[in-house]
């Protein structure tokens, strides 16, 4: 697997506070990586350093767009900052053309593609409107277009879903998947982990500027020791034996339904067989807990606190 972005020992302090503390990560070409953590964990600072907007105190950042390691080439990277904003006294299309121009995209091509994107995001009618006439959500979509219009090889999305309604969140998710399918590498940050979990191939969990967990999402989940088990059975039957099974904790219980957390030493299959032998099972699902819980649990095990700024 080819690495497109390689970060080593990245560190940055503001005053006495270490915003980013010795972070190393590498992003593989064509994947979606989630940089996840609570607000104030250091995600934006890390992304700003990768984008070359801030200089790190220590550490190295290198890129490889397919022709060997190279320094930062801003024209091949797309960036959607967390702090949104465009020229509100200029027209939508003018904003897009200026920003694409700064990335080196020829004007005619930029105009053609910008109009296509605007159509796609239901903003076709607003191309010649001044940006200030658009709602906040529409302006966010325009900004999203600005970050991908020049067909970057790598895109950095900082909190791409914040401030968007659920319908538009889904539209953006769909576009991110399309970008990945088209070969674009995506590094996105989010504090609502559950929202991006389904989108990411790999993740990097960060808290207090330090790495908590990182790797392929699937691998992280599978190696996590706990499972969430949801069991539907005949309500007439007695399920009190569940409380006696070591490592099984009941989260929610109703007649005919039990949601449990299993962290016992026995194989999960043995557990399921026990259910089947003692109850009339109607449905059963076994899932790894959501990423957010894995994050909270891992942080707690380390004796750290989760700071919400």
């Amino acid at each position: 697997m080819e690495t497109i972005l390689d970060v080593k020992g990245l560190t940055k302090s503001f005053g006495n506070k270490k915003a980013v503390d010795n972070i190393s990560l590498s992003v593989t070409r064509g994947e979606v990586m989630g940089l996840l953590g609570p607000n104030g964990a250091g995600k934006t600072t890390a992304i700003r350093m990768i984008m070359g907007i801030m200089a790190p105190d220590a550490g190295e950042i290198s890129f490889n767009f397919g022709d060997g390691p190279q320094p930062l080439d801003k024209s091949r990277i797309g960036y959607l900052p967390e702090e949104r904003g465009l020229y509100d006294d200029a027209r939508v299309i003018e904003n897009l053309l200026y920003l694409a121009g700064l990335k080196g995209m020829p004007a005619a091509e930029a105009r053609r593609e910008a109009l296509q994107w605007l159509e796609r995001l239901d903003l076709g009618a607003y191309a010649n409107q001044k940006l200030e006439k658009l709602s906040k959500g529409m302006q966010q979509k325009v900004q999203f277009i600005a970050s991908i219009l020049h067909r970057p090889v790598l895109v950095l999305f900082d909190e791409p879903f914040s401030g968007l309604d659920p319908v538009n969140q889904d539209v953006i998710k769909e576009i991110i998947r399309e970008l990945r399918d088209g070969g674009t590498t995506v590094l996105l940050s989010a504090h609502q982990m559950n929202m991006v979990e389904e989108l990411c191939d790999s993740i990097f969990l960060i808290n207090h500027g330090r790495e908590v967990l990182s790797g392929k999402l699937q691998a992280i989940k599978e190696s996590y020791k706990e499972d969430i088990v949801e069991l539907h059975y005949d309500p007439a039957e007695d399920s009190s034996f569940l409380k006696m099974i070591p490592g099984l904790r009941i989260l929610r219980e109703e007649p005919g339904l039990a949601v449990m957390r299993y962290s016992g030493s026995a194989e999960i299959n043995a557990l399921l067989q026990e259910f089947v032998s003692r109850l009339t099972v109607k449905a059963i699902t076994v899932e790894k807990p959501p990423l957010h819980e894995i994050f909270v649990e891992t942080v707690r095990e380390r004796g750290e606190e989760i700071e919400v700024a």
Binding site: R48, M51, G52, I53, M54, A55, K74, S75, I77, Y79, P81, E83, R84, G85, L86, Y87, D88, D89, A90, Y98, L99, G101, L102, K103, G104, Q143, A146, S147
Partner: protein, 401 residues
């Protein structure tokens, strides 16, 4: 620094701002003010003396009045002769403002020269034009009285004109002295106007967060230089419009050929002008980057705008004594160099080495302020939530961000 990026920023800033209300309004209203101010001072200086006045004369000498009349031929003062018995009627007419006043000439006062002029209110009388003609008329009258011939009189009264000449043989003209002050004033106004627009433009980009997107494509230095060039050309365009209007207006009132300067004078003026512009623009852009909003905490930064104006407060003294030691010292302090030198260039003939050395100082100042501006600019830009103090700016300049 990549020049194509600078060029793109420049194009955007120029075309966006040339259409902006602030630019259009200042470009159009300032010439209006210039016309108004020029017109007012022109009519104020010429209008009063041109105003006609009606003055009655009681001539008890019986022979002075014709002298007065002859001398009044081209004057706005009109006189009429009256008998001393009419004095009360004249007083009434003066009170009724039908007459500006009346004069009484007696055999005694034409000798002593202490002439009484009776008016309604002595405070509001302008006697400049009147006393000139009475003085001349009396001189002629007295000379004839002591028996001088017309020839002797014309010899004795031949006018005297003092014509100052520089040792270098150069002609002296008021216009040539006014021009440099004028250029310094134009520099200051242009800097104030487009500098403020630049400063608040940066502040606005910072406030509406576009700045971070821009920095993801260009460096802070490219952005700064693009903006300075963009606003520089906007400023030059504005000045061009003002000069055209100003010269057209000036041509109505006096011979503008007198302002005409040789290229040898024009080139240093242009160089100091542009250098000054770039330096101040860099400073203002940096100030804009440190501000959070246009109110409150930004007041201190707003004061920085006044720094380039300081030499203007001493403009009179600088033009009168352009080679005084303190003026020379002022010329070597980069932030004051442009305005001071613009005034000195017109006021005197400066040796080439002084022009060259102050220009070098200015260029060092330009380089320093662009460097400093870019550093403050790039560091201040992402500090969205607050105004940066001067102390912190000092820190920023030392620390690598």
């Amino acid at each position: 620094m990549k020049w194509p990026n600078v060029l793109k920023v420049f194009r955007w800033e120029f075309f966006k701002n040339v259409k902006s209300p602030v630019f259009l309004i200042t470009t159009l209203t300032i010439p209006l003010f210039m016309l108004l101010a020029g017109g007012i001072s022109y009519y104020a200086s010429t209008g009063i003396s041109q105003e006609e006045s009606q003055v009655a004369v009681i001539d008890e000498t019986g022979e002075f009045f014709p002298y007065l009349e002859t001398n009044l031929a081209n004057s706005p003062v009109k006189v009429s002769l009256h008998d001393s018995t009419q004095r009360e009627q004249l007083a009434e007419k003066v009170e009724a403002r039908e007459l500006n006043g009346y004069l009484i000439f007696t055999p005694e006062n034409v000798q002593s020269g202490m002439i009484d002029y009776y008016v309604s209110d002595a405070k509001e009388v302008n006697i400049g034009a009147l006393s000139n003609v009475v003085q001349t008329a009396l001189t002629f009258y007295r000379m004839e009285k002591i028996g001088m011939t017309a020839e002797q009189i014309s010899l004795a009264t031949a006018p005297v004109i003092i014509n100052p000449r520089s040792l270098s043989g150069e002609e002296f003209s008021v216009a040539a002295m006014v021009a440099p002050v004028f250029f310094a004033v134009v520099l200051i106004i242009a800097v104030m106007v487009s500098g403020q627009v630049l400063m608040y433009g940066v502040l606005k980009e910072k406030r509406n967060r576009i700045i971070e997107i821009l920095l993801s494509s260009v460096t802070a230095l490219e952005l700064l230089v693009g903006k300075i060039i963009g606003f520089g050309l906007l400023g030059l365009l504005q000045i061009g419009i003002w000069l055209a209007v100003g010269l057209a207006a000036a041509a109505r009132y006096f011979d503008i050929g007198q302002i005409g300067m040789s290229p040898a004078e024009l080139i240093p003026i242009l160089l100091f002008f542009i250098g000054g512009y770039v330096m101040y623009a860099a400073l203002f852009a940096a100030m804009g980057a440190t501000m959070k909003d246009a109110e409150g905490g930004s007041q201190t930064q707003g004061l920085v705008v006044l720094i380039p104006m300081i030499p203007m407060f001493a403009s009179g003294a600088i033009v009168m004594s352009p080679n005084a030691l303190w003026v020379k010292i002022l010329s070597y302090i980069p932030i004051f160099t442009p305005a001071t030198m613009l005034m000195r260039i017109g006021a005197t003939n400066l040796p080439w080495w002084e022009l060259a050395s102050t220009f070098v100082v200015l260029m060092l100042g330009v380089a320093f302020f662009i460097y400093l501006g870019a550093r403050i600019f790039s560091r201040g830009l992402l500090q969205f939530e607050r105004t940066i103090s001067f102390k912190e700016m000092g820190k920023m300049m030392r620390k690598n961000y």
